[in-house]
């Protein structure tokens, strides 16, 4: 019978397995295997924890609680004489020149009465513990109007769509000079549809420029959370819905070198639920 034949064949093997010394060796090997597997498994899970501390937190999509969240407000001022605003010569492109009734000036150091600094980017730099917030479905529009960018400085969330529109009847190229994200450079003739881009990594700031019109530049602050603001004409900003906690708030303003590093200043602040705290910044004139 085949079964019996098989049983006969397995008998020596069975005898080996049940032999006490071999059985002991088997136990030891099994134990080693289990420990090894557990160890490996633990290592894997440790690794997951290490990165996962971030990735878990990153994976946790928090929501902004506007009701209980704190508000951080403040004013950004320039200490010292502001650089003289440069008059932009748009003569290289007749369309651009004709788009302005008066000679346009550079808005890189736009200072209003009392030293209020416009276009400063203020954001929560540290303290959120790696929480990530869902990017809004609405896109941020960067418009090219009269051969200038609007807005000059803006914040955008990681994964949020940036829509670049050309409202001008002249050629522009849109060139991002990014360190962390992928840089791009593409032409945008008049009448072409808006170009869409998504930044995938946090980066403060990404310069965006038009190489056709050397005076055109804009800066995008890319963050994984919505707690940022840009100072208005009065130099004031407001960040809403900040969860209770200790934070580092950074203020960034472009330097006279017009590079992404800019001029920065950090301040610590602690907020409780529904708090309203004032954090003012004074940047030294270069």
């Amino acid at each position: 019978m085949p079964d019996c034949a098989l049983a006969n064949l397995l008998k020596p093997l069975e005898a080996m397995i049940i032999h006490p010394s071999l059985r002991q060796l088997g136990y030891m090997l099994s134990l080693t295997l289990v420990v090894g597997l557990v160890g490996c498994g633990k290592k894997d899970s440790d690794e997951e924890d290490d990165s996962g501390g971030k990735s878990d937190a990153a994976a946790t999509v928090a929501t902004v609680d506007m009701t209980n969240g704190a508000t951080i407000v403040g004013t950004v001022k320039l200490d010292g004489a502001a650089p003289v605003a440069k008059v932009i010569n748009m003569g290289g492109d007749a369309y651009c020149g004709a788009a302005h009734k008066t000679s346009p000036v550079s808005d890189d150091h736009w200072v209003n009465n009392g030293g209020a600094l416009v276009n400063a980017f203020v954001y929560v730099k540290d303290g959120l513990g790696g929480k990530t917030y869902a990017a809004p479905a609405t896109a941020i529009t960067l418009a090219q109007k009269g051969c200038t960018y609007e807005p000059h400085v803006f914040g955008i969330m990681v994964g949020q769509t940036m829509k670049v529109e050309n409202d001008d009847q002249t050629l522009h190229n849109v060139h991002s000079v990014s360190a962390a994200n992928e840089s791009f450079n593409e032409g945008q003739p008049p009448g072409t549809p808006a170009k869409e881009h998504k930044m995938t990594k946090q980066e403060v700031m990404i310069p965006i420029k038009c190489d056709v019109h050397g005076w055109m530049n804009s800066y995008a602050g890319v963050l994984p959370h919505p707690f940022f603001a840009v100072t208005g004409a009065d130099g004031k900003y407001e960040i809403k819905g900040v969860p209770a906690g200790d934070y580092t708030i950074e203020c960034w303003h472009e330097s006279t070198k017009s590079d992404a590093a800019g001029v920065t200043q950090d301040q610590k602040v602690t907020v409780a639920a529904k708090d309203s705290k004032t954090v003012d910044f004074t940047l030294k004139a270069q």
Binding site: N185, V212, H213
Partner: protein
């Protein structure tokens, strides 16, 4: 009796008036192309046309003039002029091939052709990759190389070039080697300048003649290192140029083939130093900056001509002695016995 120049082999001992004129035109156009290339960088216009080889999706040669707005004017002019230079060098190579000039000169024509093709490709590549320093600097340096080749071809095809009888150098210093070292020093200095320019480090040291108030600045950034290296390089290159000119004016002042370009080199050197200073003090104003770039090229080409002329017309004492040793011994007349 003096020996014949080895450079005659390049020439083949012939002269074609029209081919030489065309070679001159090619060299001058290439120099102008380098100037326009300098304008592109000075205006930061390198990416104003984001695509290549098309221009905003259109065929380069039919891109309408009405769209040459802003910095597109510089970038597109550079591309068109580069195409013209490419065509000139191609015609030159074919013309040389069909001419009675020597084989080596024909090869030189084809080397220039390959050089200009690679140069065009590097130009496109640097646009595609958003102006990486390595490719942009390579593009700048190859431009110098191609220009030097066009100048060399123009010189070798000239009427005065063939059948020159070389004379022994009168100077204790080998003018040929000294001028060749000078060419090398200037080429190295141009490379440092190109690196500095494409790293946007031209104003990393914003003062002149002192470097941020000191003779040797604090090296707090790679930009300062590059900038200072270019300044030191300027001193070294100037030293080489002045030494070469001094030897020429001392020992070869009656040889106009050397003394004329030597005097011209001094003028260009002085202008070049002044332009370098103005570039810093004017915070990289377009005109002085671009002229400074072109001045470097002009100085390189002048010293190259001096070096080629020196090798062509003069023989070193050591080489002469070596040649004498290798000569067959003279036959002793039997009558002496």
């Amino acid at each position: 009796m003096d020996s014949q120049s080895r450079f005659d082999l390049l020439n083949g001992g012939v002269h074609s008036k029209w081919l030489h004129r065309f070679a001159l035109l090619t060299a001058v156009t290439t120099f102008f192309l380098i100037f326009v290339g300098g304008l592109v960088k000075s205006h930061e216009a390198g990416l104003s046309v984001p695509d290549w080889p098309t221009t905003y999706g259109e065929f380069m040669l039919t891109f309408p003039y009405s769209k040459w707005v802003g910095n597109i004017f510089y970038e597109h002019s550079h591309r068109l002029l580069a195409t013209l230079v490419g065509a000139f060098i191609t015609v030159e190579a074919i013309w040389l091939q069909l001419s009675k000039y020597g084989k080596k000169l024909k090869i030189l024509g084809w080397i220039a052709f390959v050089g200009v093709c690679i140069q065009g490709y590097l130009g496109g590549l640097t646009v595609k990759y958003l102006l990486p320093t390595s490719i942009s600097t390579g593009h700048s340096m190859l431009a110098q190389g191609v220009f030097c080749l066009t100048v060399t071809i123009a010189l070798f095809t000239s009427k005065a070039w063939p059948n020159v009888e070389r004379t022994l150098q009168t100077s204790s210093i080998d003018i040929r080697k000294l001028s060749a070292w000078t060419v090398g020093a200037i080429a190295f200095q141009i490379m440092l300048g190109a690196l500095m320019r494409h790293e946007n480090a031209g104003l990393a040291i914003a003062t002149f003649p002192l470097a941020n108030g000191r003779i040797i600045p604090e090296f707090t950034s790679s930009g300062i290192v590059l900038n200072f290296a270019h300044r030191v390089g300027a001193l070294i290159a100037s030293g080489f140029v002045l030494a070469t000119v001094a030897v020429i004016l001392r020992d070869y002042r009656y040889d106009r083939k050397l003394s004329r370009p030597a005097i011209f080199a001094v003028v260009v050197l002085l202008l070049q130093i002044a332009l370098g200073a103005i570039t810093i003090l004017s915070e990289k104003a377009v005109t002085p900056t671009t002229l400074h770039v072109s001045g470097g090229t002009l100085l390189l080409c002048t010293m190259l001509v001096i070096s080629l002329q020196a090798y062509h017309h003069y023989e070193s004492k050591a080489a002469k002695q070596e040649e004498s040793l290798h000569r067959e011994p003279a036959v002793i007349p039997s009558t002496i016995s």
